[in-house]
Amino acid sequence: MTLLAAAAAVGEPSCYSRLTNDWFCVQYVKDRQSEIVDATTQHLQITVEAVLLGVLIAFPLALAARRFPRLESSILGVSTGIYTIPSLALFPLLVPFTGLTATTVIIGLALYALTVLVRSMLEGLRSVPGDVRESATGLGYGPGRLLLKVELPLALPVIMAGLRVATVSTVALTTVGSLVAFGGLGNLIKDGVLTNFRAELLTAAVLCVVLAVLLDAVLVVAQWLLTPWTRGPRA
C-alpha cells in the first residue's frame, strides 16, 4: 500500500507543475532556492539602503525644521506631498534621472520614508524636557554635544518608533520596484502573476511579511540595547 503510494508520488508531477499549481510547495522552494535567495537579498539590500538614505536626509531636515520654525510647515508639507504620490507613479517620475536601476527604487523609497522619519525625529527632539536641556547647558554642553549626548539619546524611543514604521512599510513598498525590474521579491510576485505560478507568488509574499517582521524585531532589539536606562527595576 505504502509502496504503491510512493510509486504514485514519483510518477506524479511536482506540486508546482502547471497541472497542479499548488499554493504551498516545498519542492519549489528547494528547486528554486538560489533564485529565491537572490531575490530576498536584493529586497533586503534595497530596503536597508533606502531606509538609511531616508534617515540621512531626514535628520538634517528635522534639525532645520526645529531650528527655523518658518521652514517647518514647508518641510512637512513637501514630504507629505511626496507621500501622497502613489509608488507606481513615483518610480517612473524618477526614471529620467536615474534610469532603470536599483537607485531609482532606493531614492523613491527613501522619499516615502521621509514623511514618517522627519515627523518622528521632530517629535522626538521636542519630547526632550526643557529642564534637562537647561541643566545640560548649565553643565557647559555646547549645542553639538547637547544634541549628541543628551537630546538624541532621550529622543531615541520616539525616533525608533518612526524608524520601525518606516522600515516595515519600505519592505512592503519595495515590491513595487518590480516595475523597473528591481523589486526584490516583487520580481518573483510579478513573474508569478504573469505566468499564473501560485507557489512562486505565495512564497514571495510570505517572505516579504517575514522580512518585515524580522527587520522590525531587529530594530526592537537595537532599541533595547541602545536605551539601557529605560529598562530597570521599575519595569
Binding site: P86, L88, F91, P92, L93, G99, V165, V193
Partner: protein, 266 residues
C-alpha cells in the same frame, strides 16, 4: 541600456518632450483605454472601495473607541496592514479562483480583486484613526456628560462623535490616499485604472507613455489630497484650535499623515 550612445542629458530632455507630446495629444485622452476613461474607472473603483471600507470599518472602530475596548486590535491592524505588500495581496487575489465570478461589471476579475484589496487597505487608517479619535476625547468632558445624565448612546453621538470628527476625517483622508495608490498598483496585476498606462509604457519600453501616466496619477493624487484637506477644514467643528499654537495659526495640512502612525509606535 549601456549600448545607448546618446548623451544621458539629451536623452532626458527627449523623454520630457516626448512625455509632453504624449500628454498634449488629445487622442491619447479619448476613447477606449484612453486616459480619461481609465481615470474615471480608477476614481469609481477608489470611491466605491472607500465607501465600503467606511461603511464596514468605521462604525466598529468608533463603537470600540466608545467602549474603550479592543485597542490592541485597532492599533495592531495598522501594523499588519503596513507589513503586507499591497502588490502581493493584489497578486494573490487575482490568481486565486473566485467561485462563480468571471465578470464584474466592465472590470472583469481583476476589477473585483482590486476592489477587495482596495477596501482592505483602506481599513487600517480608518479603524486606527476612528478608534483613537473617540478614545482621545478628554476624560473630563466624558465625566461632564455623565454628570449631565447622558446615556451611553447620547454621550457617544452628542459628545464623543463631534469631538472626534477631525481625527476621523484625517483617517478618511489617509485612506483615500492609500486607496488611490493601491488602485494604481492594481495595473501591475492587469487590473483596471490609470496604472495601466504606466505599466504598459514600461513593459513596451515606451517610457514617455509610462511617465505621462505617472504624471497624471501623481497630479490626481495631489488634487484629491488638497480637496480632502479643504473638506476636512470645512467639517472641523473646532476651527479655532490651531491658534492655540504659538505664532500665526499654522494650518499645517501635513500633520495628519503622522497622526495615524504616532499612536501606533509610542
Amino acid at each position: 541600456m549601456a549600448a545607448d550612445a546618446v548623451d544621458p542629458g539629451t536623452a532626458r530632455v527627449n523623454i520630457f518632450t516626448d512625455t509632453w507630446t504624449y500628454l498634449t495629444d488629445w487622442s491619447h485622452w479619448q476613447g477606449d483605454e484612453g486616459l480619461l476613461q481609465l481615470l474615471v474607472q480608477q476614481l469609481l473603483l477608489s470611491v466605491t472601495a472607500l465607501a465600503i471600507a467606511v461603511a464596514v470599518g468605521l462604525p466598529v472602530a468608533l463603537w470600540l473607541g466608545h467602549l474603550g475596548r479592543g485597542g490592541f486590535l485597532a492599533i495592531n491592524i495598522s501594523n499588519v496592514g503596513r507589513a503586507v505588500p499591497t502588490f502581493a495581496l493584489l497578486a494573490l487575489l487575482v490568481t486565486a479562483d473566485f467561485p462563480g465570478v468571471t465578470t464584474f461589471g466592465p472590470y472583469g476579475r481583476a476589477g473585483l480583486a482590486t476592489l477587495i484589496a482596495l477596501a482592505l487597505f483602506a481599513l487600517p487608517p480608518l479603524i486606527t484613526n476612528g478608534y483613537v479619535a473617540v478614545r482621545e476625547v478628554p476624560a473630563d468632558v466624558r465625566q461632564a456628560a455623565d454628570g449631565m445624565g447622558m446615556t451611553g448612546w447620547q454621550k457617544f453621538t452628542r459628545v464623543e462623535l463631534p469631538l472626534a470628527v477631525p481625527l476621523i476625517f484625517s483617517g478618511v483622508r489617509l485612506a483615500l490616499v492609500q486607496v488611490w495608490a493601491t488602485a494604481t498598483i492594481a495595473a501591475l496585476v492587469a487590473g483596471p485604472g490609470l496604472g495601466r498606462v504606466i505599466t504598459d509604457g514600461f513593459f513596451r519600453s515606451n517610457y514617455a507613455k509610462g511617465i505621462a501616466g505617472a504624471v497624471v496619477v501623481a497630479a490626481v493624487a495631489l488634487v484629491l489630497e488638497l480637496v480632502a484637506g479643504t473638506v476636512q477644514r470645512a467639517v472641523d467643528p473646532t476651527p479655532a484650535a490651531p491658534s492655540r499654537r504659538r505664532g500665526r495659526g499654522k494650518q499645517d495640512p501635513g500633520r495628519t499623515v503622522g497622526e495615524a502612525a504616532e499612536p501606533v509606535g509610542s
